[in-house]
Subunit: 224 residues, 2 copies
DNA sequence: CTTTTCTCTTACAATTTTGTAAGATTCTGA
DNA sequence: TCAGAATCTTACAAAATTGTAAGAGAAAAG
């Protein structure tokens, strides 16, 4: 149940919106002005803010920039004017979207879902077949069980999983692994690491399904 | 210079847009239909796609979903109709934004900048004082120079940096580091790891400024 | 089929990591 | 001040990682 903070001083519109958003399954908090809005923002920590540009006690831009001081919660501007300058100023203030009144409720919902989807970008997992990297914990899982990789093996796998499907030359891989530390390693070293990695993550290391060799070129990770 | 792919079959509009976008500093590639558009998409690998919903040889939604098969490049729909169903369908197709004709060029630019900003969302770095973790590369830097951490040290630091400022008890830390692998480690082991980590990342390990001890409780990372 | 080239595999020493133990140090409360 | 508790530091062996070399195996070219 995402929480939404609505800051709007048009009472009729506000009430209608609240009702509509609630039927869509959102929890809605409401404020009718700048001061109350910021107060409520701090206490209810919403997942998304709907913000009227023209408030009785000041314009919405200052509210947005105040919010941006402490948070990157998605903000959608609501405005009566289709004035393009508002749009531009809103985006430059760090708004995530902008919708002009009058708008259809369904469009608002779509825009809310859109910014939430982008923002709630799940703690990204990198996945390929039955192997998963959780970069936020520095873990590698195979069929849900932890696989112990050394620092270099982990970095090597990370390169493949962040370049899924792309051909990576030996040179590129070696550069990424060793040039930062200024070391020079032998020509065969990468082969050995590929073997070690395959031994740890492939079901049948002799017939790798994840880390494929591209003869004469390099390697690539394939989804299936 | 971001590259933009414009897929639009209204020749007049297209030409105007191209000129305008170029004056704004963008490199623009243009296609007047579905087939050409997808072809060009593959060859020019744009940073953003502007996509007319109604094309002569099919609607824009199928183009968008074809693009989404292989890429998460931002897509902005252009449409003549202010029909809300289009908006909704577009977002559900994975569009990033939506703009109705007629629109002001400046608004389009603002929306392009907006999606590019979101999309080019810098590979998130975790930072504390002069120490940085780059999770997307599995690297730790101190004053911009690589610090070589073992797998466990890296994971330990990651826990602190993703829980900046929060107190973490010994138990929490040990759980996160060792329970996944089902091992039991001695009471003092965490102390030793804390020392090793401090030796590698603190300027003065005896007087840590990043990884602070909270006596009787645990440890926490502090911003300054 | 043979040769050549590229990749894989194995084995090996040097180094690093890992976990423990034992003692030193610091902090807190009586 | 002193005792007890918590934390830090050092030192140590077992285990794992790291990079190399040498040879085996596979694929492409002649």
């Amino acid at each position: 149940m995402p929480k939404i903070l609505l800051i709007e001083d048009d009472e009729t519109l506000a009430k209608n919106l609240v009702r509509y958003l609630q039927t869509e399954g959102y929890t809605v908090h409401m404020a009718d002005g700048q001061k109350k809005g910021l107060q409520l923002f701090r206490t209810c920590s919403p997942d998304c803010v709907l913000l009227d540009v023209s408030l009785a006690d000041g314009n919405g831009f200052s509210v947005c920039s105040a919010i941006r001081q402490s948070s990157d919660v998605p903000v959608i501007f609501l405005t009566a004017s289709a004035d393009e300058n508002c749009t531009v100023a809103g985006f430059e203030m760090g708004a995530d979207d902008y919708i002009s009144k009058p708008f259809r409720p369904r469009e608002l919902i779509a825009r809310i879902r859109n910014v939430l989807r982008r923002h709630t970008s799940a703690p990204k997992l990198l996945q390929c077949q039955n192997v998963t990297i959780d970069p936020s914990r520095g873990l590698v899982l195979k069929n849900g069980n932890e696989v112990f990789l050394s620092a270099l093996e982990y970095r090597l796998l990370l390169i493949f999983f962040t370049n899924m499907g792309k051909l990576l030359t030996r040179e590129q891989l070696a550069d990424e692994l060793w040039t930062f530390s200024g070391e020079f390693v032998g020509d065969n070293t990468l082969n050995v690491y590929m073997k070690r990695l395959r031994d740890k993550i492939e079901d049948d290391p002799q017939n790798p399904t994840i880390l494929k060799t591209v003869r004469g070129m390099g390697y690539k990770a394939v989804q299936s």
